[in-house]
């Protein structure tokens, strides 16, 4: 793996990574008001992991974010998203009727709901993308 010896790449990647994740969260939270949301954020997040894996090797990436975590992350993400919908139903609303999450302040409830759902999506997509990367990377060996 020659890339590991390429200092410029290693340094550049390492310094870029925080911005990757920051941007991911920016897109995530911007999704409340404009274009963006969990799906795009998840991909960006995963891109950071993929970059790390490409530069430092898959094993290094796996050391940071172990594969079992990723697998659980996919399921957990989906679970959070669905559970939010179920929670609204338990609160007496329709499925995904976020307003019911905070009965006193429906608008606040809306925010809360979207936050949860988008977090679930982020988690599922980011883990899913990472998982695909891991699986493809494993195949080559």
């Amino acid at each position: 793996m020659r890339m590991r010896e390429n200092t410029i790449l290693r340094v550049a990647a390492k310094s870029l990574l925080p911005f990757f994740f920051l941007f991911a969260f920016y897109v995530q939270f911007h999704g409340d008001f404009g274009p963006g949301g969990g799906f795009q954020a998840g991909v960006i997040f995963a891109a950071g992991v993929v970059l790390y894996g490409l530069i430092y090797g898959v094993d290094a990436a796996k050391a940071v974010i172990p594969k079992p975590w990723v697998e659980v992350g996919v399921a957990l993400g989906v679970l959070i998203w669905i559970a939010t919908g179920v929670a609204t139903m338990l609160e007496g609303g329709r499925y995904l009727e976020y307003g019911k999450l905070d009965v006193a302040h429906p608008v606040h409830g809306q925010h809360l709901g979207i936050l949860f759902v988008e977090f679930g999506v982020l988690m599922a997509v980011a883990s899913g993308m990472t998982l695909i990367f891991y699986l493809f990377a494993e195949r080559g060996r």
Binding site: A75, L76, V78, L79, M89, G92, R94, Y95, L96, E97
Partner: protein, 508 residues
Amino acid sequence: MFAPLADWASSLEALTEHFPVLVVVLPMLAAPLCFLVRHANLARAIGGLAAVACFAMVVQLLGRVLDEGVVSYRLGGWPPPLGIEYRYDLINTFVALIVSAMAAIVIPFGQNPRAFAVPPGRHNVVYAVYALCAAGLLGMTVTGDLFNIYVFLEISSLSAYTLVAIGSERRALMSAFSYLTMGTIGGLFFLIGVGMLYQMTGTLNIVDLSERLADVSSVRTLSVAFAMLFIGLSIKLAVFPLHQWLPNAYTFAPPKVSAFLAATATKVAFYVMLRVIFTIFGRERSFEQMNLDRILLPLSVAAMFMGSIAAIYQLNIKRLLAYSSIAQIGYMTLGISLNSESGLVGGIVHLFNHAVMKGGLFLAVACILFRLGSVKIEDMRGLGRRMPWTMGAVLIFGLGLIGVPGTVGFVSKWYLVVGAIERDLHVVAFLTLVSSLLAVVYVWRLVEVAWFSKASEGSSAQTVREAPLAMLLPVWLLALASLWFGISTDHSAGIARLAAQQLLGTAP
């Protein structure tokens, strides 16, 4: 002291309100849970429970639909054209019933560990994918939003590819890839069609769309959209000659997966096609302007013959059943292309009947594979004596495929023939009957091998035992169903007739 009871009752009633969405949410919820528990039997229990609960809910919903007409559920409380609506009318509740019933039959009953390439410790994944696939299919069926259909189509398709690829056969991966390629092309065509419709009308809600389309004058874009949707769905449905992905996918997938997909995936695609043709575009536009029958009728008849003839010459029982499925799909699309009420009833009731028969047949193949370790027809010599219950069920389903009176197959063929005669298409009626004779040939091949030839010396067909009860139970459940619904047609053909009337807008 009765207060808690009353509480229960009222909360149950409140729960009933949410059944329309829970039908999709429950398997969707079960999927990650199955994945997380990391224990095959626990995952099976979760997936199975979800499927059975789904089935129960759909039954309840069907009752409601029959009583009250359309049942609508607004997701997030948004009103329909804006928000997503789950909309139950007769036809899709009927299809949801089939899907959930098959899920409830396939998921809980013993899977053959040898059939999967997954290491034994990870079998929970299989159930997770099953549940996801069921969720996708149910979502496609019940949603009233065209784009939502696409999303669920992709969910179900991706999990279906996974299910095929998960098979232990070496060629499973290749056939899954071919399935994926064709499926993606189909999905893409569908998406383009949806995009064009959205561009013209600005709405994705099916009911809204059908109303707004009435005012659209740009015929050319509309025709292209229709053609895109039609071809895309034809690929998903495996209409001849777009069926090339199907034989290998069904052949190399584990037989239980084939049973599930054969009984549900193509059926849901067929339902969406009905939706597009009859609800969105309407009978008049589809047939008079788009001349749908001009292309679908010859393709259907060709499918009936090409599928059946190919089935006759197959050496592998799963391949045989796969080609037979192509022929049976031909009967279903024939029902559409006849453009008459009886024909449509035949198509819809055949959707149900074929799900029962093909699902049962593939489950029987699962029994054979489990005991015999082979699905080559050659190896099944004399198997009727060793596995009488399994092969007996195969015989019953086979009679159904032929269309013998007293089995479900007869009912659908009757309606199709009547539909053809109503439209004065006597040649088509005749060809339908002739193609049944081809079914006699390939069913007879199985019967002859199983019952009338001797097991060759030293072959394992001489020593195998009957399949375990847990595997036989679902097979015979479906076998009895295929007899029951051949005699008592109130619930299959009766609902199909009402659904057809609803689709054609001729409901009283």
